[in-house]
């Protein structure tokens, strides 16, 4: 590294006289950088970046600039090199100017050098797009139009380099991707169709570069008009690359995985192109070579990427998962879970996660392949990526349909999860709560109790107000699963969280604009409302909750509407023993306007909603039959003058006196209502006093008095 200092001195020299010497020095430095990563880091540690960047001065010798660009490109190949210097001072602007190979500073006989420099610069930029900020700064310095020009230059290498830089700019940056997708090339064409033609280029490298760029644009959602082109051109191109025995084979599976990751239809399409057997044979072939030649590591990346592609294909469709099992690649996947390479372990875990999204696989092939032990082992992995995909897989392994649930619980998985919730990163914490939620799904009371003894309700309470909404959602789902099916289970949750705290949390969640939070919060209520009289009364004592439920009955999502109606159904469920409690609730709900709202939902466009509404209204009807309904009877008496068809049971023109009289007489006549506080209930809840007197009278009448169920 002593030479290195000397070389650095040479290129740092201020005089421009001996640019040839400088060029030579830069080239020698570059040759170091083409070695391994530790060489590169040694170079950068000695401060070589700044002088190299200074060599890019556009007024300088083009040969020197080209050499400096090449060396810088080699250095930035290492992701561990700091990108800071490049974005400081004027370096970025200088660099971007060099993209302009056809500028006014055009010098005869130097086209080739200038063009090559531009390619190198494009490649450097591609390697310096790690953060949104970097992407934005590069775009902000005017690189994009110059890259477009390079893209349309027709020169093969330049086009590849431009595609590389554009891809890096649009990757995971929807805003910038949108901007670039809307730009126009010189002839007025948008970039996407132009790049699509390059996907059919004869050079595999060009095809890969073009496919990669379109992949990132597609996942950013900015070229929806090209969906069918992606399906018909990009997907088959990438699948065919799996069988090319050249450099593109290594990267292609990862691009493929990236492209199809979120799209079920693309996963199916790739599956139909027989990608699964191809990937399976790559993986088993790499394993075989590793065994035979013992040169471990050379094809690690290929194997990792292929595993990732398998994980992508089998993520959403059972048919695709079946194909992976049939390709007999599972033993290789399980072996890869203990591979020395971090990337391979994580990718293998992704595969098992995808495959374990199936009841059938959980019951059969995954048990046969013995994934439990290696998976459990990975919980002690030091790599966060491996840990997160291992914990994600475990969410499925602990389901009740999985025969591995019991044995992995015996290994102490719950305690592991609890520790992770305390100390893990947010992804791992999310997975751990998710897993516990899945674990108590349909579980017996003693399993729930044992889990919560280890987990602790105070921890659950904290998670319910976690900074991450996703974690809140899982915690709420956990409460829903805990307080399910049996009164004693609901009691556990009540005493664990304290019902004041529990309902305050639910009340808060019901005001959120998040479908999943809303649904779980509502089903917590649904489940609690199947419990004892005390459980039901606890809900009734929260006007805020009742009001939210009422409001959500008109939610745009049918699933939410169904959930709200279930709350009503359960709160009004006819119960012989405690008919009075049911009646009290009906009265309160009716006076809140629930029945009217249900009537309105009678014509809901969703069949499921209408069906549930029928049940709920039936409960109100039953109540009415038994206790009579003040307003209804009054309406009948008044001859329903002025009432227009079925909109409401309340009449428009009845007087207070008739209402009371009718109601009383109806109730007494039926002889079912004892003359006690309950009579007041009927009167107050059902009629139209509408004045101060009632406001004063009701509190004791409606909910306050019937306290016989209180504990």
């Amino acid at each position: 590294m002593l030479y290195c200092r000397r070389l650095q001195d040479i290129i740092s020299a201020r005089d421009d006289k001996d640019s040839q010497l400088k060029t030579q020095a830069v080239i020698v430095l570059g040759s170091f950088a083409f070695g391994n990563e530790s060489n590169i880091l040694a170079l950068t540690n000695s401060g070589v970046l700044e002088p190299l960047l200074n060599c890019l001065n556009p007024t300088g010798d083009p040969k020197l600039i080209e050499a400096a660009a090449r060396t810088l490109n080699a250095i930035y190949a290492s992701p561990r090199v700091s990108r800071l210097e490049l974005f400081m001072g004027n370096h970025l602007n200088v660099l971007v100017q060099l993209l302009d190979a056809y500028s006014s500073s055009y010098r005869m006989g130097q086209e080739a050098v200038l063009l090559h420099t531009a390619e190198l610069v494009a490649s450097i930029l591609a390697r310096c797009c790690e953060t949104i900020d970097q992407q934005m700064q590069i775009a902000g310095s005017g690189a994009v139009p110059l890259l477009m020009r390079l893209l349309a230059s027709g020169a093969c290498k330049s086009q590849e380099a431009a595609l590389g830089a554009l891809a890096a700019l649009v990757k995971d940056n929807p805003d910038l991707a949108q901007h670039i997708a809307q730009m126009r090339l010189e002839r007025g064409e948008r970039p996407a169709p132009y790049i699509l033609r390059l996907v059919r280029d004869k050079s595999p490298n060009m095809r890969l570069a073009a496919a990669t760029c379109l992949t990132y644009m597609n996942r950013a959602g900015v070229i929806p008009e090209h969906n069918s082109d992606i399906m018909l051109t990009v997907l088959p191109t990438l699948v065919k690359m799996l069988q090319l025995n050249c450099s593109v084979q290594e990267a292609a599976p990862k691009v493929l995985a990236y492209l199809i990751w979120e799209s079920e239809s693309m996963q199916k399409a790739v599956c139909d192109m027989d990608a699964i057997p191809k990937l399976a044979s790559i993986i088993s072939q790499v394993d075989e070579e590793d065994n035979v030649y013992g040169i471990v590591g050379q094809k690690d990346k290929l194997k990792e990427n292929s595993l990732l592609a398998l994980a992508a294909i089998s993520q959403m469709k059972e048919d695709c998962r079946r194909q992976v099992i049939e390709a007999k690649v599972l033993p290789h996947i399980v072996m890869a879970m203990s591979h020395p390479s971090v990337g391979i372990r994580a990718a293998a875990c992704q595969c098992t996660r995808s495959l374990s999204r199936s009841v059938k696989n959980l019951r059969t092939s995954l048990v046969d392949a013995g994934i439990e032990a290696p998976l459990f082992q990975l919980l002690s992995d030091s790599d966060p990526g491996v840990l997160s995909s291992a914990t994600a897989t475990l969410c499925n392994i602990v389901l009740d349909v999985s025969p591995m649930k019991k044995s992995i619980m015996d290994r102490g998985i719950v305690l592991k999860f609890v520790q992770m919730i305390g100390f893990g990163d947010n992804v791992v914490r999310l997975n751990a709560v998710w897993a516990i939620k899945n674990l108590v799904f349909e579980a017996d009371s003693d399993v729930k109790e044992a889990v919560m003894r280890q987990f602790g309700y105070h921890n659950l309470a904290q998670l319910l107000n976690d900074g991450e909404l996703a974690i809140q959602e899982q915690a709420l789902n956990l409460v829903r699963n805990l307080a399910c099916k049996r009164e004693q289970d609901i009691d556990q949750v009540f005493s664990g969280l304290g019902n004041g705290q529990l309902f305050s949390i639910i009340e808060d969640k019901l005001t959120w604009d998040d479908l999943r939070l809303l649904e779980h919060a509502l089903y917590v209520l649904v489940n609690i409302a199947t419990g004892s009289e005390y459980h039901k009364q606890s809900i009734m004592k929260r006007p805020g909750i009742l009001r939210s439920v009422l409001g959500l009955m008109s939610h745009e999502s049918a699933a939410i509407r169904v959930a709200t109606i279930w709350v009503i159904i359960n709160l009004t469920w006819p119960d012989d023993r405690l008919a009075q409690g049911v009646h009290d609730r009906v009265v309160v709900l009716r006076s809140l306007g629930v029945e009217d709202r249900l009537q309105a939902l009678n014509s809901d466009h969703d069949l499921d909603v209408r069906d549930r509404v029928k049940t709920a209204l039936h409960h109100f009807h039953l109540d009415q039959q038994q206790y009579g309904h003040a307003a209804m009877t009054a309406a009948e008496q008044a001859g329903s003058a002025g009432t227009t068809g079925g909109a409401s049971r309340y009449s428009q023109g009845t007087t207070t006196t008739t209402t009371i009289t009718t109601n009383r007489s109806a109730a007494m006549g039926l002889g079912q209502v004892p003359v006690s506080g309950a009579t007041a209930v009927v009167g107050a809840g059902g009629d139209a006093f509408g004045t101060t007197a009632v406001t004063d009278a009701t509190p004791s009448g409606v909910v306050g008095t019937p306290s016989h169920e209180r504990r």
């Binding site: 996942r219 979120e262 004592k541 929260r542 805020g544 509408g690 101060t692």
Partner: protein, 344 residues
């Protein structure tokens, strides 16, 4: 296809970072209340309920709902179009609208933060698990149970079905089928089955499992609700005939029935009261490795018809060498509480 936030397409200016404007817009979801006269009872009950709950600290400290109705709202103050009952129960029009708006604004900010975090997370790990929402329709949901009988000749066996996973998007569901007393060796026999839900993905015509069109026809037509499909499924698209048949009926009815009749390809259970399925058993539970069982076989499959409204399932077992038309009759086991899991 992933959907991202759309930024305005512009070719000459760089996109700006997403604005942090989170001005909340509450929508009033209250149905119109045509009658003002009864506003009072809603108000009084809200206050009643809250007063009754005042032993709870949270409430006593003045939750959002409590204070408002206690004031005597005068008829004049409330806008004419907003009856008081509506005011009492609606977030938009209650007198606490400001507090609610502030709360909403705060929540929206957090939601927005959450979205940004998601985007960052996505950037950090573009291969994060994609969520597959569990689906349900009526009594077809994970955790649902059906009980009933299977009749075979003069014998009848108790049957229970446990639905374990439903993926309507893929016209798929699966579960366990328990049957009692079929053989001495296995007094209780449980199999894992998968369902093909007839619809856009699976046709009425089986084309496998040794079932030809004749088999399909003689089984599907046993289901009353299938009758209207029968001809179009098994005789091809006989448009002319059906036109003739219905020439005398009312034209609007005809057009709807016409489509119904002639295009089983457009059939989707979403729009119907019944769900047709094929159930195929695959292996024994708990030990999937057990191969043959003497005296019983699950080599065939069931034609299934589930009625959404009655919650009943009827089915017919078919296997080339088994007794024909063994009937399955099941009823949904009522359940009023619902847990939920989700694959990761």
């Amino acid at each position: 296809m992933p959907v991202f936030k759309q930024v305005s397409p512009s070719t000459d200016s760089l996109p700006t970072t997403p604005s942090s404007d989170a001005s909340p817009q509450l929508l009033c979801t209250c149905p119109p209340y045509p009658f003002d006269e009864h506003a009072g009872d809603a108000l009084s009950t809200v206050s009643a309920a809250s007063a009754a709950g005042s032993d709870n600290n949270h409430l006593a400290s003045g939750g959002l709902a409590v204070a408002a109705p206690l004031e005597q709202p005068s008829q004049q103050q409330a806008p004419l179009s907003l009856p008081r009952r509506h005011v009492a129960t609606c977030a938009v029009h209650s007198s606490h609208a400001m507090a609610l708006l502030k709360q909403k604004a705060k929540q929206q900010q957090q939601l927005q933060l959450e979205r940004q975090r998601e985007q960052e997370e996505r950037r950090r790990n573009p291969f994060a698990p994609v969520r597959v929402a569990p689906s349900r329709t009526f009594d077809l949901y994970a955790g649902s149970q059906f009980r009933g009988k299977q009749r075979s000749g003069s014998h009848s066996y108790d049957v229970m079905v446990d639905i374990k996973h439903v993926d309507l998007n893929n016209s798929f569901l699966c579960g366990y089928l328990h049957i009692n007393g079929l053989t001495d060796e296995y007094p209780e026999l449980t199999t894992y089955f998968e369902a093909e839900i007839i619809g856009p993905k699976h046709s009425f015509l089986t084309h496998k499992w040794d079932a030809d069109e004749l088999t399909d026809e003689e089984h599907w037509t046993l289901f009353e609700p299938f009758k209207c499909f029968a001809r179009s499924v098994f005789n091809g698209l006989d448009g002319q005939d059906s036109d003739e048949d219905m020439s005398d009926s009312n034209p609007s009815l005809r057009s709807s029935r016409h489509q119904y009749h002639c295009d089983p390809l457009k059939y989707h259970h979403q729009n119907e009261n019944v769900v047709f399925m094929r159930w195929k058993e695959h292996f024994l539970v708990p030990d999937h490795r057990v191969q043959g069982i003497s005296g019983a076989s699950f080599a065939g499959f069931y034609y299934i018809c589930y009625n959404k409204i009655t919650g009943e399932i009827s089915g017919y077992y078919y296997h080339q060498s088994s007794e024909k038309f063994q009937q399955l009759l099941l009823k949904h086991v009522d359940e009023r509480s619902f847990a939920a899991f989700e694959f990761r």
